[in-house]
């Protein structure tokens, strides 16, 4: 797609040029390190389990993956629409899809790098003599990245829909919490209507798909596809919203 690479590179550079990115990386490193050191003794010094817990197995990871993507994507469309930069991009000879996709890829790449910080702990463990299972870690990391791709795409939809970055972030966080939490609720509902609803919600159960495959170290194409398909659907929606902005003016 023409221009996609240019936009991807610009967005990624833009993320790293803003102080927010570095503050986020710093906080995430502290946060992850804290939980790693907290879990390690609980698991009796078992390195793999502790690393996987930090990278995707525990609540700390899910909290981050709910809050981080909206913070990265909130400005990408709403603020550029205000500053006129969206007008610049949308009058350049590139498609709307290339603009949205470039932004989504940049946010996902950034988050993939953030999750890769766990590899620092793994490398440290290796250096200290407790070799981690790198294959397992990579599978969990890939899963975490796919989750981030989905949540970034949703963040972009919110950023395209709402006029201010703060509102966009807030709505995206709500959407993420709903996506993450509804299957939990559904499981506790009783009755035939609840059954059907639960079945429906299982189709968007991010946590189950993540835990069912990546967390156990298995790369299952069905689960990879689950994340890719929903990400594509969200991106398609974001492109449509950007397009409709042209018509509404």
């Amino acid at each position: 797609m023409k221009g996609l690479l240019a936009i991807y590179r610009r967005e990624l550079a833009g993320l790293f040029l803003a102080p927010l990115a570095w503050i986020l990386i710093f906080c995430v490193l502290l946060y992850q390190a804290h939980f790693f050191l907290y879990v390690l003794p609980l698991k009796g010094g078992e390195v793999n389990g502790s690393l996987v817990f930090v990278l995707g197995g525990g609540v700390p990871f899910w909290l981050l993956s709910i809050f981080l993507p909206p913070l990265l994507t909130m400005r990408m469309i709403s603020e550029e629409s205000r500053s006129g930069l969206l007008e610049f991009l949308l009058t350049a000879p590139v498609s709307d899809a290339a603009v949205v996709l470039g932004k989504a890829l940049a946010a996902t790449t950034f988050l993939a790098l953030v999750w890769a910080s766990t590899f620092l702990f793994a490398a440290l463990c290796q250096a200290l003599g407790a070799a981690p299972d790198w294959g397992w870690l990579l599978a969990v990391w890939l899963g975490a990245t796919l989750v981030s791709a989905l949540f970034s795409a949703l963040g972009l939809v919110a950023s395209a829909l709402f006029a201010t970055p703060l509102l966009a972030a807030f709505m995206a966080i709500l959407a993420n919490i709903a996506l993450f939490g509804l299957p939990f609720l559904a499981r506790s509902w009783r009755g035939p209507a609840g059954e059907r609803l639960a079945e429906l919600l299982e189709r968007v159960d991010v946590l189950a798909h993540f835990q069912g495959s990546f967390l156990s170290g298995a790369l299952d194409s069905a689960h990879v596809l689950f994340f890719l398909a929903w990400t594509a659907a969200a991106l398609f929606l974001a492109v449509r919203v950007v397009e409709s902005r042209r018509w509404l003016g």
Binding site: K2, G3, R10, G14, A18, E87, F88, A92, P93, G249
Partner: protein
């Protein structure tokens, strides 16, 4: 090069551009003039493919903006009114990004970036952060970004806003230079800008074209009549002086236009320049002349007339 046919653009119930048609030949420089909210920016946004038209057709170099938007955009250089630039980037990075967006190679991008920066007089600020530049400098960076791909058509929305008088002259000269090889459509609400750069003017008022033609043509056709303003000191009654002047050969009408102390102000209408006849008469009568000037219609007066005359109509429409 640009053909706009019956373009209408609505935003909800509001019609921003209403049945506008015009044509720009290759190499033509046209100024868009109009009060705020007349539809200049909306028309430009439709031209550049940012907004789709509600009705009508816009064709640029044979490509319809609605169906062949990317081809149109590839031929256009557009500087939006807001001068969109990434403030966290350096000037040259912004230009390189534009080069990549337009599919230029790395080397070509870099040589073109250096060339356009030279052209807008910012060669020494290539490595400056855009956020640290002054408004005038950012305006020129915006111009450089629009020029980078060497487009055949340039659409510039208020290209001189925020510039100091010296930079204004520079940008004006630059636009005149660019106009030699390109089609340029620029908008401004600053009349001298348009007068100095654009032979042809399109005046928009409330989304419609109020006038379209070369400056001299428009002023002759729509500018209204010329008259001689005469201010003199006399003891005679204003009405008597007016009647006396009206009897002079070539004079059609003379009207008193107020009195300031001992001085009487008159407007004398007639064929051509009557200054000599009036001056001679005043000298014969021993009147002391304080002002004797030929008031010809200008683009500015024409513009003011168009803008003001149609004001009551808008009030009616709203009611």
């Amino acid at each position: 090069m640009i053909e706009v046919q019956h373009l209408t653009r609505r935003f909800g119930a509001r019609t921003a551009v209403d049945d506008v048609s015009f044509k720009l030949e290759r190499g033509e420089v046209v100024g868009f003039l109009g009060p705020n909210g007349a539809g200049k920016t909306t028309t430009m946004r439709v031209l550049t493919g940012f907004l789709p038209p509600s009705q009508g057709r816009v064709v640029v170099d044979g490509f319809d903006v609605l169906t062949h938007s990317l081809q149109v955009r590839a031929r256009l250089g557009y500087l939006a009114e807001s001068v969109p630039l990434y403030r966290e980037h350096r000037v040259q990075e912004m230009l390189w990004f534009q080069g990549r967006l337009r599919g230029l190679g790395r080397r070509e991008s870099r040589t073109r970036a250096a060339a356009v920066l030279e052209r807008v007089g910012l060669a020494d600020r290539a490595r400056s952060l855009i956020g640290r530049l002054s408004k005038g400098q950012r305006q020129r960076v915006g111009l450089a970004v629009a020029l980078l791909p060497d487009p055949e058509v340039l659409v510039l929305d208020e290209p001189t806003s925020g510039l100091d008088p010296l930079q204004r002259i520079e940008v004006r000269r630059l636009i005149q230079e660019l106009a030699r090889e390109r089609t340029v459509l620029l908008s401004s609400h600053i009349l001298p800008e348009i007068e100095a750069t654009c032979p042809r003017v399109i005046i928009l008022q409330r989304g419609r074209i109020a006038a379209d033609g070369t400056q001299t043509e428009l002023v002759e056709r729509l500018g209204g009549e010329s008259f001689v303003r005469l201010e003199l000191e006399t003891a005679a009654a204003p009405a008597a002086v007016a009647a006396e002047l009206a009897r002079l050969p070539g004079v059609q009408a003379a009207e008193p236009r107020g009195q300031a102390g001992a001085f009487l102000c008159l407007e004398v209408r007639g064929a051509g320049d009557l200054r000599e006849a009036l001056g001679r008469h005043a000298a014969q009568r021993g009147w002391i002349v304080r002002e004797l000037s030929w008031q010809r219609p200008t683009l500015e007066k024409l513009f003011a007339r168009i803008a003001l005359e149609l004001e009551p109509a808008r009030a009616e429409g709203a009611a």
